[in-house]
């Protein structure tokens, strides 16, 4: 449809008159039950193509609705799907060329064993499926027009933001020289393998080295860098991949005194590997909005928040009224009624019937 018609339509849909007519719900609640892509405010995307490049990954082309504001190469968006009735969202890097303001965008998701969203998308992504999207976010981005030579290092599915950078640079008239190291298990596991080869073949000043870690190659070593760039301090380095790869590059650039020129993107938060024993009382409670810290004493989070001087909303204090529901941003909690442990991600919990198991952060 003509974009100016759509933007006029949006102006009507978001007008005070329409808000008053659709009160107290808002116009989206009349549009969305019929077609989720019609939202007047939310970003949604429809899957246009599905491709399986490797044994354990899926590449999807998604056309966002008109609320999508584009992105900068290297950024990610949160994809939201519903699995067994529950909304789940995860971050996925945009792999297509920036800015992608009207066109479709691309994501590649590697299926993680036991991983909820990646397994769901890997198994069920199909043309026509509608996904919830956030606007693009993230600081792992190229400068506006890079002039210094670049060193890009990717491991496994960490290729996605790097791919976006390469595709974006490829579209420009002139670009700084690019050197790239790409770690994959075997040739068959290389996501975007063929496209990379073609891309680097097109640019005389670009050089690529793909290392098959389970097929003759080794894991990261400083020698790999030195073989590609003469002086690490003279290039801007971007790394995305497994934690070990990122940590190794951080250590190397610290050693060479050029940490300021290194940027990295982690797909997983650095997790504590300590096994949590639900029966011992340990850890700290962080109330982020009020910026308070308390040592977990094992009582309900509501009791402890109050002991810390906070006054969270609460009513029944026995888990029935849901007044005390609040966002847990990290940590595991135990349901005091059933003894069940929660997952450690972000979710809403009832603090009157939850106790912390180790460190817990609450949006209070």
């Amino acid at each position: 449809m003509n974009p100016s018609i759509l933007s006029n339509l949006d102006r009507v849909l978001t007008s005070p008159l329409v808000a008053a007519l659709t009160a107290p719900y808002g116009v989206d609640r009349f549009l969305e039950p019929f077609n989720p892509m019609w939202s007047a405010t939310q970003v949604r995307g429809r899957i246009e193509a599905v491709q399986r490049q490797t044994r354990d990954s899926v590449t999807i082309t998604v056309r966002p609705n008109r609320h999508w504001q584009g992105f900068v190469a290297g950024q990610y968006a949160r994809i939201e799907v519903e699995i067994d009735g529950v909304r789940r969202s995860r971050c996925y890097s945009l792999a297509s060329a920036a800015p992608g303001r009207d066109g479709a965008v691309e994501f590649t998701i590697k299926q993680q064993d036991g991983g909820l969203v990646s397994t769901f998308l890997y198994a069920y992504a199909q043309v026509g499926m509608v996904l919830g999207l956030s606007q693009a976010e993230g600081e792992f981005v190229l400068p506006e027009s890079p002039t210094t030579p670049l060193l890009l290092v990717a491991g496994g599915s960490g290729i996605t933001p790097v791919m976006s950078m390469l595709r974006t640079l490829d579209g420009r008239v002139s670009s700084a020289p690019v050197s790239m190291l790409y770690y994959v298990r075997t040739a068959a596991d290389a996501i975007y393998g063929d496209e990379l080869a073609a891309l680097f073949a097109r640019h005389a000043s670009w050089q690529l080295r793909v290392i098959h870690t389970r097929d003759g190659g080794s894991h990261f070593s400083p020698a790999h860098v030195d073989a590609l760039v003469a002086d690490l301090a003279a290039v801007d380095t971007y790394v995305c991949g497994p934690a070990a790869l990122i940590d190794a590059l951080i250590a190397l650039s610290a050693e060479r005194g050029c940490e300021a020129r290194l940027r990295h993107e982690r797909f997983t938060a650095p997790v504590s590997t300590a096994v949590i024993d639900p029966n011992t009382v340990s850890g700290e409670l962080r109330f982020i909005r009020s910026e308070r810290l308390a040592t977990n004493d094992g009582r309900s989070l509501l009791d402890q928040a109050e002991a810390a001087g906070l006054r969270p909303e609460a009513g029944c204090r026995m888990g029935i009224c849901h007044s005390c529901t609040c966002r847990k941003t990290s940590g595991v909690v135990r349901d005091l009624r059933s003894g069940k442990l929660s997952s450690d991600g972000e979710e809403d919990i009832q603090i009157c019937v939850s106790a912390a198991v180790g460190d817990v952060t609450l949006d209070l």
Partner: protein, 386 residues
């Protein structure tokens, strides 16, 4: 009184020494429960709860979204038909569709979503703290008066303000006053204006009128109510009528009738939940050191079900399963039907009453009570302690 004495076999001294007013004969069944049995009963309720909790998933998500879709469809159809209200079939259809949409929104969607029944879906549109409904009562105030006060303190006289809504005499233990001769009139007025009754509930308007509560204390609440009501009036009584042009008065009347239909229906269902004969009320002392088992028992004894078909249950927001709703207020209400089978079995096992009947029977006994309690107690010679 039977109600709290039924719990007096617990080791709770404050319950045993409770001042007791005679009202209904003791039911031998409830008296025979030992404290251990009460806790065993509670454990069985917990087990039912856990089983359903563990089974929540796509089926429940699809169900509530289908209901939302139906409600939105009815609302669009109702509003559209009332734009042509001068055509008699459009008027009748419009009032019916808009009334049905408001009923679905208030009961199966609003009431249940705001209980947190669908919070587990992590969908902001079905989240208890974000939902707002098509009625005069602001969502946040209702969550307090209903979820906290009514559900935690169900049928505890002097605490649960749903007992008579601070307006009616619905329990023999409420002291009689000549003003209650108008009980049936008050009840009719409350039913007609039910959405405003519900809206003014949390502000405790009755206590403001009687001077017990300073107006200043209720001011922020009243402001919230005014803001919400204004929005409702703007839409129902100004904008949609104006859109109908010369048909404006007809649209206005149609919208008012849809609101009225909703008011009578919700009043009927809600009054059948706690006021039919044999539903028990409790003394404040019941609350002291109440165990989970005792809490479950109070919910069971303080609620009554209405029997009916699938669509009757849907349009009553499954509050026709009031007993299950009070036992498990935050589980998706469309599960109550299947849960009621198990709850009844457990009640039989423990010899506990399970109050259920047809709409005619339950509402008939509510109406009878409204009339009966308008008159002074037969034992009016005895001094009444408040």
């Amino acid at each position: 009184m039977a109600r709290s004495r039924s719990l007096t076999k617990t080791p709770n001294p404050s319950i045993r020494s409770a001042p007791q007013q005679p009202s209904k004969p003791l039911t031998a069944n409830t008296l025979s429960l030992t404290p251990a049995q009460i806790e065993a009963f509670g454990k069985e309720m917990d087990a039912i709860r856990e089983r359903v909790l563990g089974d929540l998933g796509q089926r429940d998500a699809d169900y509530i979204r289908d209901i939302v879709k139906l409600q939105r469809g009815l609302e669009i159809a109702g509003r559209a038909m009332l734009q042509f209200g001068w055509l008699p079939p459009a008027f009748v259809g419009g009032v019916a569709a808009l009334g049905a949409s408001k009923i679905l929104d208030n009961m199966e969607i609003g009431h249940n979503v705001m209980h947190g029944q669908y919070d587990w879906m992590q969908d902001p549109q079905l989240n208890s703290r974000k939902y707002d409904w098509d009625t005069a009562c602001p969502a946040d105030q209702w969550r307090h008066s209903h979820n906290v006060m009514h559900h935690t303190y169900t049928n505890v006289l002097g605490v649960d303000r749903d007992v008579g809504y601070g307006l009616l005499r619905m329990d023999e233990n409420q002291p009689w006053h000549p003003i209650f001769l108008a009980n049936p009139v008050f009840a009719f007025l409350l039913a007609s204006l039910f959405q405003y009754g519900v809206a003014l509930h949390d502000a405790e308007f009755d206590r403001i009128l009687s001077g017990e509560r300073p107006l200043s204390e209720a001011m922020p609440l009243l402001k919230g109510i005014w803001k919400k009501t204004r929005g409702q009036w703007l839409k129902d009584y100004a904008l949609f009528p104006l859109l109908a042009g010369p048909g404006a008065p007809i649209t206005f009347v149609g919208n008012a009738m849809a609101n009225l239909v909703r008011n009578y229906w919700t009043f009927t269902i809600i009054f059948c939940g706690h006021f039919p004969a044999d539903v028990q009320t409790f003394d404040k002392s019941t609350l002291a050191n109440e165990t989970r088992g005792q809490w479950y028992l109070r919910q069971l004894l303080g609620s009554a079900n209405i029997e009916g078909g699938k669509w009757f249950h849907i349009f009553s927001g499954n509050l026709s399963h009031q007993i299950e709703h009070h036992l498990f207020p935050d589980l998706p209400a469309h599960r109550y039907a299947e849960m009621s089978v198990e709850v009844r079995k457990v009640c039989e096992k423990f010899g506990l009453p399970y109050n259920t009947g047809s709409l005619r029977k339950q509402f008939g006994s509510v109406v009878a009570k409204i009339f009966k309690l308008a008159l002074p107690p037969r034992s009016a010679m005895l001094p009444v302690t408040a």
